[in-house]
Symmetry: C4
Subunit: 234 residues, 4 copies
Amino acid sequence: MLDKLKYTVCKANMDLVAQGLVIQTFGNVSGIDRSKGLVVIKPSGMQYNKMTPKDMVAVELSTGKVVDSHLRPSSDTPTHLEIYRAFGQVGGVVHTHSMYATAWAQARREIPVLGTTHADYFHGYIPCARLLTSKEIKGDYEANTGKAIVERFANIDPMEIPAALVADHGPFAWGATPSEAVHNAVLVEYLAQLSHITVNIDPDALPISREMLDRHYLRKHGPDAYYGQAEKDK
Amino acid sequence: MLDKLKYTVCKANMDLVAQGLVIQTFGNVSGIDRSKGLVVIKPSGMQYNKMTPKDMVAVELSTGKVVDSHLRPSSDTPTHLEIYRAFGQVGGVVHTHSMYATAWAQARREIPVLGTTHADYFHGYIPCARLLTSKEIKGDYEANTGKAIVERFANIDPMEIPAALVADHGPFAWGATPSEAVHNAVLVEYLAQLSHITVNIDPDALPISREMLDRHYLRKHGPDAYYGQAEKDK
Amino acid sequence: MLDKLKYTVCKANMDLVAQGLVIQTFGNVSGIDRSKGLVVIKPSGMQYNKMTPKDMVAVELSTGKVVDSHLRPSSDTPTHLEIYRAFGQVGGVVHTHSMYATAWAQARREIPVLGTTHADYFHGYIPCARLLTSKEIKGDYEANTGKAIVERFANIDPMEIPAALVADHGPFAWGATPSEAVHNAVLVEYLAQLSHITVNIDPDALPISREMLDRHYLRKHGPDAYYGQAEKDK
Amino acid sequence: MLDKLKYTVCKANMDLVAQGLVIQTFGNVSGIDRSKGLVVIKPSGMQYNKMTPKDMVAVELSTGKVVDSHLRPSSDTPTHLEIYRAFGQVGGVVHTHSMYATAWAQARREIPVLGTTHADYFHGYIPCARLLTSKEIKGDYEANTGKAIVERFANIDPMEIPAALVADHGPFAWGATPSEAVHNAVLVEYLAQLSHITVNIDPDALPISREMLDRHYLRKHGPDAYYGQAEKDK
């Protein structure tokens, strides 16, 4: 059951390591099979060099109940589930503690759009979800983390800005597939470092104009995109 | 047609990756055959590890029209063309989103001549082209980017300072050949990082004196250069 | 005698190099056999690539006297001994001059708990031991360094915060085994860099709440931990 | 003639590259045979991967005249010669444009003794030679650079602090042998980065006390050194 998705999710977890985004056993990728209502995710605290596709843990999207595995899913699973429930087009979710994105999250600051590199991939600043209340922390903490992300996206299209910071914690990213989610996590880390250096050079650096943001985002995304090759030549 | 130039341009694009200046598919190198009036450039959005010389796309210098290829040229091609048209000695152009140079561009600041490392290669600060107007962004955006670079060099010899930043975007560099252009892009990134650290240590760091700038630049360039070996011993 | 411990300590010293925490010959790991009252440590100033288990030097916990070796133990041995004497659960001690942790030590600042990455491993800020007095420096300097660490932990559980900075010097870390001590030294360096970037982005960055600190620390440690796998599945 | 010294100097130049201190063709190492009054140095602007011992250029200590080579010596040779002439115990000299040390030089600031890592190797701050006058720049520039270094050491023992920064330029280091000079250049770069991070965390970070400086320097150097192994065990 779910062999292909388990393979895809395992590979995406390995890619996360290869991209340098993982410290210790931090970092996890999941993928979803919406037709079956199941999410596949990395097991909790497992070392990356020992992981195989069959170790991936499937849980029910609706209940979080483990299906057919004696391993525990990542402790962040409830956060992933909230994202899948709220954002219907998401096919893969990533969580890391990558250095620069985590620093922005710890500073509780959104990552501003300071240049076209950012605008080429994200159609606006990368939002930072609010701190949780005492009650939320002591209660269903991981689910509440996911709910804070969803709350922050009330007026944002999660497919145009497929990533969020969680205050005092770190970045989450998503995409149409687990592999796209990893790609977006790499970009968030790159932009976090680039923005950090920029504000280091000029603490009052200004965001780019709306026209520049749209020009760069839309030349790569949407019906009028002219970046890259035609489908037949890819 | 243009086999040798396509080989040279493809190799220069590969060198750009080897030098660590490329993030994702950002970054492109072109070269020109002025006798034929043709510019050869990397195809748009193509992955570097799949690229071969025959994938390079030739376009007409005067019109930008693609010659003999079914692939799209880099979306930045019009910027390259403006540089070739205005700077007659340029044989190769490079564009990257390398980390530190892009940060200076995002801070909209020219890179000052803070030491002799800079003066050994560039005969003055590295200029930053102005922000484009709304109209320029919505119009022929990539060509207008090139025009802003050329405008900024009204009183600067582009062969003595073979690089520019574009505000909110990133660095362009050029040279007598594609390979020299890559070399200059590497230097811009190195100087951007070095200057960043310097202003971090002292935000009020002063540029070097005119005498030092000339001494170092001219000991490596021009008729009285005494750095390196005589031609016969190179 | 002590063959297994010498092997373990030698390997831990090698791991320290592999983790990038060693500059020149700085850095040393020790381990203890409490039943025999002996501590095994790296020899002083020895190059890492020439070191073998039999070069490890055993000293008496109570007196510091070398047992059965013609090599000198690390000059920091008296500091290690003070830590073993005061903290009865410690089985391994590490000292490094790793870049970022050393910088915090030189700034004489404790590393605050700025996010959950920190809270997952250390149950509070990483303390900084005070400067030594002139008399302490001129006297039994290395032992006094250890005493200043122990003094700083008067009200801190050394197994919940298994690391300290020494003002103007660098980090020490410990754990139940030499390998765990190395692991904690790696984490201290990571957190030192992460905190540095965070305060760079926001000099007034605030520590996380007590609830968040406890939630993250206790989900990985203690009787109610739910991170990782059950013992049988590890 | 001088085969062994040429081999030593060539290897030291290669080590400089291996240590990551060289950008482009910047960086050169020399060695001296005081009995013959000859200095051997890297040829000017030569690529490191093409260099062999027989390419090393010998010059007279007293006159700077090239002996028995058709290659030009490094353009920095006159600076090296001034150092050899003034500091009689120096056997090797290194010049680099290594990133962090060059940044301190560009900020025209001496590198303060902010911790014991520094004190273990240098018996005081790393001095910065003054800016040259217009006349000195236009005259015998490279020799004048060396004279400014020597002038700065009027009251400093160059064997206790075997390195200097040159304002707006970069670091020079030296030692009893070319290999020791390279070692010191590596340490200068490490300390420059460490100090940079320290002042980043606390712009008002204070130097260590005189007692600490002496304690650490003297435990590794001089008659009462107790760091490392006895001669017979090295």
